[in-house]
Amino acid sequence: MRSIKPLIVKEVKELVRDPKILIGVILMPLLIFPVMGSAISVSQKSVMRAIISASFAVYNEDEGPAVGALLDYLFTNNTVIPIETESLQDALIEFQGTNATALLYIRDGYSENASRGLRGRLKIYANLKSMTIAEAGTTDTVSNLIGIYSYQLSMSKIHRLLEEAGDPSDPTAVRSPLSVSTASIIKGNVLEVPPSSIFNLIISQSVMLPIMVMVMLMFAIQMAATSIALEKEQKTLETLMTLPVGRLTILSGKLGGSIVVAVAGAISYMIGFSYYMTSAFSFAPGLTSMTTGDIGLGLQPLGMILIGVNIFVTLVSGLALAISLAVFADNVRSAQSLTGFLVIPVIIPSIILMFADLSMLPPTFQWILLAIPYTHSIIGTKAAFLGDYFVVLRSIAYIAAFTVAVLYIAARIFSTERIITARFASFSLRGLLKKR
């Protein structure tokens, strides 16, 4: 095996010096994710600023005593545009000419209803000019302001009525007699966290990782296929095959070089993505403050190692598959279209398992998915977060067995003259029909 090192070094140099691979696989994730994160952060902060500083309009038809307190409440700490017209129709026309995105309409009879112990009726009109989140946010701000005022009004009334009746009850308990809180049990531990929050957290951390791996795997597959096809196109592979070096060594060198670059791409992807997560959600620190570690689902060192092994065998299997397929291509274009079919088994399990658990699916569908090795990459990663190491090991074993089978086929192809004579065209439907 004295010749494997130069083969790997040559492969890495060839790949890394190709601007398409250097930019697409290594530099792009480092650039695109932080830029995306910053863009999201800037836009979200702008939305929040727009919501906080948003002005809204008020059109009041009521002239009774109760409306004064409501107007005082609204005009304090908010930018309110009063609209004074003869009718609601005119008020709506004037409102559309202002910068305000919401109009609070206080109907005539508001005070009368209040004095008679009936509900005061208000209406909010949202002017959707640009269909942005900020517009919806301003409407929510007005609704929330009214909600707080309504709550305070109700509490003070309950308090007064209880005092008058000499009832010692807590006004809060009278308003909401039942209080429900949720907790979750994970691995026998009771956690004071709603299950929905835990699932959101698991999805964001344990599902995002395999999806990232899948995306990176697609890059790696294209890269390895292009590399083999280029060797065939330029006949450098033909030259390699006549050197005093084992065919298996040539295959291993090819695979080794691709793995080195793919792992560099994976690291760059991870760095870029983690930067994206922190910068994109920096406008709301609460979203990122809870980690799987906080709820006892954090990755233990063993889990981390197993995830690493899982990703590694997934990568090797994808690269071996790409190399085996690309051998049948004459040129780069046909290699890329051949390996393009691999998108289906790589991406489909990721998408399905993002939305559903395997056990929720019909049995036939489950078996089909389980037959695809890349399903196990996702199952394994999820299981590592849950500390179910047997499932992780089983997933690794399945992918490894598949990889060995693919490598065996690749080695067989490399050891025969098919590496030189195999052609994508010979697998055409027309060719098959002719043979019959």
């Binding site: 010749s3 130069p6 070094v9 330029q234 006949k235 033909e238 070096v245």
Partner: protein, 243 residues
Amino acid sequence: MMNAVEAKGLVKSFGNVMALDGVSFTIRDREIFGLIGPNGAGKTTALRILGTLLKPTSGSAEVFGMNIVREPERIREIISYLPEEAGAYQNLSGYEYLSFMAGFYSNADRTAGEMLEEAERISGLGQRLEDRVKGYSKGMKQRLLLARALMMRPRLAILDEPTAGLDVVHAYHVRQMIKDYADTRGVTVLISSHNMLEVEYLCHRVALIHMGKIIAEGRPDELKQNFGAENLEQVFMEATRLA
């Protein structure tokens, strides 16, 4: 003296296509042997079989007494093969490419450094060897590839159309490289070409191949005399008419 190559009844078929149909020829040690014929005659298939890339469907061939089917690894130690219109790794420099290739042949007798010195001399590319291959012209690339094929001093160099697509100046230079190297180092060269004049200038002996069969074999002057022709082109036309 042991023959460099002995091919006996080589047959190679790809599905229904018969690329070689009972090809036999002998190449003596230290001679330049030309396999000439038109496109699709079977030259590349014959060279690929001797280069251990393909296995014959039937028949046998030996390179310096080693069987190409049973001992391909041993044969690869002593041959170098240059495919037709081959390329080099675009993102490596010429020097890196040669260094990579020399690594497979270096041993206690001859270091990679010595091979690189020789390659530099053969190619005549000088400082351009520091540049990436993707910046080379076709002629420069072919000189680099030929230097790669010869620097390890193979006992048999198999060169498939080494001047194909080259301009007059580069083709002349490449032919000179082959002739000088074979003369000074005593290397056996098997060259394929459809340029009859080139073969006449370079080769000690030639075999004419047509539709997978050898239709004539001998020294160029001998063949011209036998067929009453002025050059190999006429010999080929006459031989195909009689075949």
